[in-house]
Symmetry: C4
Subunit: 280 residues, 4 copies
């Protein structure tokens, strides 16, 4: 095994001890770099610990630089990594400090550094393997098409409600344009209710009342969709495998395989077959 | 086939290629006309691109005029279309510009142009055919009577709560009349909470606390109703009956009866057997 | 049948035509009297139509007076009605105008007239008989003990959160006392969020963040409780009656009564037995 | 039985009459002491009844002192109690008044007295035994891992949303730092919506709109998780096995097997059969 292959195993894989240590270390550096971005945005803290922050920023940038170079040289097809989602994120979250050496603009620099936030998605890789997480994920994935139709309906209702409120209340009460009316309608439908814009005329308040009741009613829809999916996911538990055709999703009361008609109970070694059942 | 029949097929039906192209083109024009209405309401944009907007407005109005005329002449009974919901919407969303040539009032013009929003409902026609959408729609339709009883209860609670708050807080704290009290009660019960009116006396805050807990508790009701309907819709079993043993609770994908092992698909008169299946 | 019995039948019962007409008429008068109370609280309307409102008020008061007298004399034990919930509500919502003739105080008068709101509960009597309503009602009644435990927990969390915020933010940021802190905590936990009081110090905002996430998480609890009850209520549908013991809540797959062991399928007239099944 | 053992039974256990009386008395004193802390924080009340509050404070402190001493001496290993959660809470909620005799600082005193709030957790001990409560508790405990993953996701979304809003809106519109942006994002995602900070630029309002729709959509997730758990808890079937045919899915109230009609209760060794029942 060449040193490149060893590096590849440590950086890209997680099934050796060195690989796990590297993953955890990377995670900690990412979190530290995030906390740095967050704290640096608070003026009082930023002024006080400026030199410390600059020093830490250099340490992290150098770490990310080394990691990036190792990732590029240890993979066979460097292109696959460089132009992948993580490749671009890694690159963009490493370069800001180098750019700031050349150009002295801090605003754009911050925006770029904020891209490091996207690195957190690496953390999801770890969560993905946990049982509870994957069950929730399956239920959510199944809900997506229904939720999209629902959000589409909400957007149309907001369009209509926002336009009506713009006509009824008008610019003098804060509804200065239809987009602002739509913004208000979504703030209201989702029950957020900032209160920065609110109806003042009795007619406007009456219409707002109807929109609120509507929003209160339709909040039930995404909930219903996700819940129904999760209940389904929970109740899918018998995985008795057919000895003949391998079908593994039989009912609890099934005596014959519904796929090939084989008598499930005739099998001698029933335990082996049932070993695939879930334990929950 | 006369040219009228051809036009009818393109405009009213969606099963030919020309019909589909027309539907998508119409949809795009509707969306563009909507975005126009929305952007035109933003003063900064409206002032800048005024001449562009007027030009686009004419293009869309002429398109809608031609579509309207074709719809009227290509249908056998023109009355059926003209006095239908879409007929009236199509007419009202076409005429504003012509009216503005005669009368120079822009306010009422906008209100009429906003009616174009109702055209979006045509889009639902496309959604209706998708599987996920129809299942959600069935569950929602079944929930309507229960949701109505629920909204009725919310309105009564708001009446009582609004009156109590009007008596307790009084006009000097923003509760200037019972309708305003009811408006506040609905804002609070639905957890929107604008904050434009809020209780100031300790007693008023105590009552508000109870109303909020009540609202928090009853938000569960519409959710429960819709969820229970969706779970039911999900679990609605296939009721294909086995010709051999009479078992009638097979999976959709079953090819053999899970009770006796009989080949369900071998039956000659499959249609008769499947007649018991749900239609959803 | 004496005239008293006839009056009793019309007023107290709803199974004759006259009884139904009376119930609907009473409902309309109650709703009109409510709208009167509501409109009278709006100053602009009240000033304009003052004489009309006074006249209508007299008509309604005389109607309620006659109804009250008839209820008292047509029932056998007048005490049962007079001291019942509705007896007291009926009395209190009738007398205000008479009292105002003696004493000239309008404030207390309004408060008494507002008691008419309680009359709306009579409307629930009509709703109670509808199928959908009763199913929801059963599910809600079953949820009550669980919901109470939940509200108790929310109140305790609000107590702790309100005290912490009072200590952290202090009177200078609006948290003038622990009760106000508790009021804020409930406003936040229930996601109402008026914004009349809100944390200003970073620590206060951090604690508020945790309270909000908590509130967002526990909103799931009442919803879960009610939904689980409704799903249960929905799935309780087979009501096959046992010919032997009358038990009517068998499983779909039951072949023997689980209460007395009688063979359900042996009965000759199965249709009669199954006639009690729900249709949903 | 020595007097120490008798005291132990009264204070630590709840299965004798004296023990129950002590528990209820303790609960009342705790509640009174809490109400005292709450009322004392309201300036108007505090000034008026100052001497009464001081007197009551002494009564409660002496009661707590005696209780604490009895708890310490009546237990065999005093260390186990003193350094347990309740031991520390009991100590901390007893000493403030004694400390105030030595040092005259009222602010810190209040903070310590507020620790008495932790004593309310003793109340949960009583709730734990109620049936409805324990079922809800089981469902909640099962939901915890899933809810944690969910809250973790919400926090990450808030991080990203808060940073974006800080860059888009900037300090001049209230988003003075990334932590404040995150605070705003959580206020918005949880649909609380105080309105103390809100987007002002059109782009900021557009992003806020997306965050709100996202929050509206993901509120369904904790609800779905808890509901699915509760439905599972509700449907957890009785698994009493029939001695005759082996059917194992009887109702709780069943006296005869619904599959073969065998009298389940006639079995001699009922305990063995019932051993398969769930414990919940």
């Amino acid at each position: 095994m060449s040193w490149k292959e060893k590096v590849h195993e440590v950086i890209y894989e997680a099934d050796t001890k060195a690989g796990k240590v590297f993953d955890v270390a990377l995670l900690i550096v990412i979190l530290v770099s995030l906390i740095l971005v967050v704290l640096d945005s608070v003026e009082q803290i930023s002024l006080k610990y400026h030199s410390l922050f600059v020093a830490l920023e250099w340490v992290i940038t150098i770490f990310f630089t080394i990691e990036y170079i190792l990732r590029v040289i240890s993979i066979k097809k460097a292109k696959n990594y460089i132009f992948s989602f993580y490749g671009i994120v890694d690159f963009l979250s490493t370069v800001p400090l180098y750019i700031s050496l050349v150009f002295a603009g801090s605003g754009a620099l911050l925006s770029l550094r904020a891209l490091r936030l996207l690195r957190v998605f690496r953390v999801f890789k770890l969560v993905r393997y946990s049982g509870a997480g994957s069950r929730v994920a399956v239920a959510l994935r199944n809900s997506v098409p229904k939720i999209l139709i629902f959000i589409y309906s909400v957007v149309i209702i907001s369009f209509i409600a926002g336009t009506i409120m713009y006509i009824v209340e008008g610019p003098e009460h804060g509804f200065t344009s239809i987009p602002r009316g739509i913004y208000w309608a979504i703030v209201t439908l989702t029950t957020v209710g900032f209160g920065d814009i609110h109806p003042i005329t009795p007619l406007g308040q009456f219409i707002a009342t109807i929109i609120m009741l509507l929003g209160y009613g339709i909040i039930a829809v995404p909930t219903g969709i996700v819940t129904a999916e999760m209940t389904k996911e929970n109740s899918r538990k018998n995985t008795q495998v057919c000895y003949n055709c391998g079908e593994d999703d039989h009912r609890d009361s099934a005596e014959f395989c519904h796929n090939c008609g084989y008598d499930i109970n005739s099998t001698k070694d029933k335990k082996m077959m049932k070993s695939a059942e879930n334990e929950d």
